[in-house]
């Protein structure tokens, strides 16, 4: 619940022209970008929780979200929207954060169902995270347990309108207040938590480096950070091949 517009950007590097100033051509170009962005959104195909069961109806013939220019997309790299459908268990939340960091900006997070807001009906569960916006900036919430496809579509239309009007840029908040988000992540996942994406470098790169990008939590991260190794998967099989044949 932070109005990110109140957080100053003191980053080195290019300063993004804010709307209204700049030359006419840039303004037209910005408008065009916003229009195109809002009309072509790819939603990451990841069913994180039970609300996902209302997405197939929303995607297919009956409620047909393709009318809005929204389609599911299988890879995070090409997706614009991360739809967090309900409760996020700690295990899933790690994957969500990894996924989110892999997505290209601008990216939008939608939290649907009660659980993403305040724990929902799993508020007393040891296994789920309670407030999604502690870990990721969230652009849009859709209420319901679970929201009907119509409600999902209403939320998506709202998001489209916000993108079109240039209002939905919560993703920048992740860079500007990375320390805050990282702190909450560390609190949940332990001090050694580390993702393969270098968010701080990205913040510098995009010119979104803010006074709260770095802090005690990022300092802790740097202390623990180990060089990224190629991931070695261990299937954990008893016998090396063919667990049961």
């Amino acid at each position: 619940m932070t109005d990110l517009r109140t957080i100053p950007v003191v980053a080195a590097g290019e300063e993004r022209p804010s709307g209204g100033q700049g030359n006419l051509l840039a303004r037209v170009f910005d408008e065009l970008t916003a229009f195109c962005r809002s009309r072509s959104l790819f939603m990451l195909h990841y069913c994180t929780g039970c609300g996902a069961v209302e997405l197939p109806p929303a995607m297919t013939s009956r409620f047909d979200m393709e009318r809005l220019g929204i389609q599911p997309m299988v890879t995070p790299r090409q997706a614009d929207i991360l739809l967090v459908t309900g409760y996020v268990s700690t295990k899933t939340l790690k994957r969500i954060i990894l996924t989110y960091e892999q997505m290209n900006s601008p990216k939008y997070v939608i939290g649907i169902c009660s659980c993403t807001v305040n724990g929902g009906m799993y508020w007393q569960s040891y296994a789920t995270a309670k407030k999604l916006n502690d870990y990721l900036p969230v652009d849009m919430y859709i209420a319901g347990c679970m929201p009907r496809p119509e409600a999902v579509i209403s939320g998506l239309r709202e998001l489209i309108a916000n993108i079109r009007a240039g209002r939905s840029d919560y993703w920048r908040d992740y860079y500007r207040r990375y320390d805050h988000y990282l702190g909450n992540q560390q609190r949940l996942f332990g001090e050694n938590w580390q993702t393969p994406t270098d968010v701080i470098a990205e913040a510098r790169h995009y010119g979104l480096f803010g006074p709260e990008t770095l802090g005690e939590h990022t300092a802790l991260l740097e202390q623990h950070q180990t060089p990224l190794q190629p991931f070695e998967m261990r299937l954990g099989l008893k016998q090396d091949k063919g667990s049961s044949s």
Binding site: K94, A129, K130
Partner: protein
């Protein structure tokens, strides 16, 4: 196989007769198709072998674990079903909570591997001879086995997480007039049954 027939006299006698072969059993028909068997932990493999071999109990429906901290015991319930007799046998055993070790029945029933691993994760029970006691569900969990009664999940959550601090306009208005939230739901759970001079 005549599955639609209710278990008749002969089925119950067959089972009752068969179960006489194992010592130390207490059997009770709790419903027409439900036979409860209480037995000492060490006789369970013999019972299951008997049921599987002689009465067609090839289906292990579930292994349930119940924590009885006051008795210092875990209760393990093996629910087995015979496709021939169409009767569910629930074998109840109790094992001491400490050290909480029991034998795996994986060599008799392969589904046991899933249930035993699950019980190991949730209750911390160890099954000797089970093929895989590695973590499956709680890979990111470092706390105590959560299903044990002494683990108070709600208290843990209250300590670990914060809640949304909503500031809606209506609440501000009411607070300006001297009102406000008089009882939060979390509070309600805290003082249940204690001094309630509300």
């Amino acid at each position: 196989m005549t599955p639609t027939d209710a278990p008749g006299h002969d089925v119950t006698t067959t089972l009752d007769f068969l179960l006489q072969e194992v010592d130390g059993l207490r059997t009770r028909w709790v419903a027409p198709r439900r036979l409860r068997v209480d037995l000492p932990a060490e006789t369970l493999p013999a019972l299951l072998e008997l049921l599987k071999g002689r009465a067609g109990y090839v289906h292990l429906s579930a292994i349930s674990c119940v924590d009885w901290p006051d008795d210092g015991q875990f209760e393990l319930v093996y629910h087995t079903w015979s496709y021939e007799l169409n009767v569910l046998v629930m074998a109840h055993i109790r094992i001491p909570r400490d050290p909480g070790v029991y034998l795996s029945i994986y060599d008799l029933y392969r589904p046991a591997a899933f249930f035993e691993r699950d019980i190991h994760e949730m209750f911390g029970l160890w099954f000797e001879g089970s093929p895989d006691m590695g973590k499956f569900i709680l890979t990111e969990w470092e706390g105590p086995p959560p299903m044990r009664k002494e683990f108070d999940g709600e208290a843990w959550v209250m300590e670990q997480f914060g809640w949304q601090e909503y500031r809606p306009e209506w609440l501000t208005e009411i607070e300006a007039k001297g009102g406000g939230i008089s009882k939060r739901p979390e509070q309600l759970r805290g003082d249940k049954g204690e001094d309630g001079t509300a």
